[in-house]
């Protein structure tokens, strides 16, 4: 079983899937030229991991902007997690948001509406607001 790590770029988020820690982190902005191509390796690793019936996975998401085709990919990822949750995998997701940004919160809430595993929306404290 392999982990996966992608450094963030302007249009793609940091992806850190750590098999030993059982965590998946997505952080940054997501509007690549081809979202499906970008997320494909993430889907593969996660599917592989979930197919081994692991005890748990914790997902931390902090995406300040997600374009529509990336949103579709995130939805596909959440659907895979949802299936695993229904098979008994302990799935926990924390979605960090800038609460002052209605659109960002709305985006997180719309994902939350379709999911039954523990999905928390957590206010992210603004970094460096006074510097």
């Amino acid at each position: 079983m392999e982990s996966l790590f992608f450094e963030a770029t302007k249009a793609t988020p940091l992806i850190d899937f750590n098999v030993n820690k059982k965590t998946l982190v997505l952080k940054g902005q997501s509007y690549p030229e081809n979202a499906f191509k970008f997320y494909d390796p993430v889907f593969l690793r996660i599917e592989n991991y979930l197919s081994t019936s692991p005890a748990e996975i914790r997902v931390d998401i902090r995406l300040s902007y997600v374009n529509t085709s990336s949103s579709k990919c995130i939805m596909m990822l959440l659907e895979k997690l949802e299936e695993a949750f229904k098979r008994g995998v302990n799935v926990q997701l924390n979605w960090y948001c800038d609460m002052e940004n209605e659109s960002e919160v709305e985006c997180a809430e719309e994902f939350q509406e379709d999911i039954s595993f523990p999905f928390k929306i957590i206010p992210e404290l603004e970094k460096g607001s006074n510097d």
Partner: protein, 182 residues
């Protein structure tokens, strides 16, 4: 050749229309990223509400990706170069708020489908747009698709006023324009 007078006139036109950023030509992912970042920085410097910055940026990304993906889908066709070179986007500000105006050449058969979709989306109230967005989000996509079919719905949702579009004949093609306000 563009002479100095034309250049000054061009700049005057941009300034008089409140245009902050404009690009005309072939959109690349790099150009989209740079322009997107520029408009975001500009709006942050102007202390605009975070939600407005997000919406302008999102509309800009969706529109320019649509133009780019449309052009790429015409690869191999005799109109490919004309379509690819025809993209234009402007972002500006007037007394009503920020506007994102974009345009590109499209083929007649695509124009009909696009007009039907826009005529459906434009009068839709926000709650219905959300419903449509979620339905589209759950649709299975063909394996080699490049988009999720969500862009225009998302633009309509983020627009503060009904979107405006036009189609004008240009030889055998049509020039499509879309204006969105935030």
């Amino acid at each position: 050749m563009l002479d100095d007078k034309m250049l000054i006139n061009l700049q005057r036109t941009l300034t008089c229309s409140g245009i902050l950023i404009s690009f005309s030509g072939r959109f690349s992912q790099g150009i989209i990223e740079e322009l997107g970042e520029a408009i975001m920085k500009h709006m942050e410097a102007e202390d605009r509400p975070r939600n407005d910055i997000y919406n302008v940026f999102a509309i800009f990304v969706e529109t320019t990706h649509n133009i780019k993906k449309y052009a790429v889908s015409k690869q191999g066709s005799s109109v490919y170069d004309r379509i690819y070179n025809s993209g234009i986007v402007t972002i500006g500000r007037n007394e009503e708020g920020y506007f994102i105006c974009s345009g590109n050449l499209i083929e007649q058969s695509d124009a009909e489908k696009l007009a039907v979709e826009l005529d459906t989306l434009i009068p839709m109230p926000k709650d219905q747009l959300k419903k449509r967005y979620k339905e589209q989000m759950k649709k299975e996509l063909p394996p080699d698709c490049i988009g999720a079919g969500l862009g225009l719905i998302d633009i309509a949702r983020k627009s503060s006023k009904p979107m405006n579009y036009s189609l004008q004949s240009m030889d055998d093609l049509l020039f499509f324009t879309l204006t969105v306000m935030v």
